[in-house]
Amino acid sequence: EFEEAAELLSADPGASTLSMSSSKNTTTAAATAGGGGGGGVGGGGEDVKLDLSDDEEGQEESSELLGGQKATGGFWTFEYYQSFFNVDTMQVLDRVKGSMMPLPGRNFIKHHLRSNPDLYGPFWICVTLVFSVAISGNLSIFLTKMGTPTYHYRPQFHRVTIAAVVIFMYAWLVPIGLWGFLTWRQGSERQIGGYSFMETVCVYGYSLFIYIPTSVLWIIPYEWVRWTLIVVAMVISGSVLVLTFWPVVRDDTKVMAVATVVTIVALHTLLAIGCKMYFFQTAVHVPASDPTAQPIQLTQATTHH
């Protein structure tokens, strides 16, 4: 099969190839001609990829680090990273919508990603979340303390750095850990039913999207509103994750399956509540020497201003 395809390619190097993969992934056609995006041949079983771009890489085996799905060329070439940004505006919007409306039976990875995980969504959603949390937190503190005569507004710009560290660590380290753990548990059945690293990062990135409007709405100074919002966001976002990972995990022993899912949900909850506590509560972090500490705790306790 490989010789046939190679002969066809040598006859007409510009042609794009269509391949039917044997695994249960959907077929993917070789994409973009020009622009440096090499064609990726989908399919879990094939390890050797045919690179259709005109650069001097020619045909080479892709690295198997990422589950052998979309990688073209070596990791030192630009085209390798370009293959992770092979999405259109409508695709990104569709994935964002999918992360906000999890339906049981719709696995985010199978239904929306369709073996084309991208890094655009996770990265820019994390960046937006960092700034939305920091800015909304700053605004909420301002609105809470606005009436106090001794209060002087401060932009608290260092919180952006803290938010960035926390959110990016969550969005990258947790998927690494989870993927490593799932791969270890799957053992030799890695190709069947397992998710590649990129897909794991992708689903975690898109699941964080719901927190962006939530963090903006947290400016509303009523505690019950904030707690309702956080519960709703955690349910939606957590269910996207659970629906995605449950089919993979349920083949494992009962204890491990439940423990994995519980850990996923617990970490997600920790992130949400941690952000809320740090960025949106005023009473906790006012220094003791500040004479406005007492009135602030009083205003925090009241629900109307």
């Binding site: 999405v87 259109d88 507004y153 932009p155």
Partner: protein
Amino acid sequence: MAAAEEASRPFAGLSDVSISEDIPVEGDISVPVGSTRRDDEFSTLDEPVKETILRDLRAVGNKFIHVLYPKRSTALLRDWDLWGPLLLCVTLALLLQGGAADSDDQGGPQFAEVFVIVWFGSIIITLNSKLLGGTISFFQSLCVLGYCIMPLTAAMAVCRIVLVGGSGTVSFAVRLAVVSVSFGWSTFASTAFLADSQPPNRKALVVYPVFLFYFVIGWMILTFSPSQ
């Protein structure tokens, strides 16, 4: 190999030729210098220093004018330079100093933070645009993004002047209006320059980070509060 041998055959006979020492050989070997060579433009060693500086200043000023009246022109892209962005970044970072207790970590952005946000933000947006298949070059994109910070820097200067008069609600409203207008202007100007180089079905994906970038810079300007 065969071609080389074939080429050397016409000259085979010349290897025997030599000039005897009786015949005087004299002449003048010199390279004729053309009077209308384009090298004159590139040979800038002899010009006065003022001329050199003024040329660069004129180029930078020309680009500022292009940002003020953004049309779809290629002037910013063709002769990119990074002097303008550097100047604007330093000015913005300096104007953002002297804020509320900036020795305390609750204050506004430090000088280095402004630099990091502007330059790393521009680099990341450029990389994003190139990864999505844009045809613009790296430094051209940095140039455009840097020059389009100019309306926001002007807004910062206006805000500081307004804050001298007081920091009440009126001044906040004025500052909000000024920053919003300049933010819109920056985003519009940069998309006017960058739009043509993007693949058509990904334009929004490229414009959104630019929007976020200028929004964050606008936020830093708006929340600047003077120390008391």
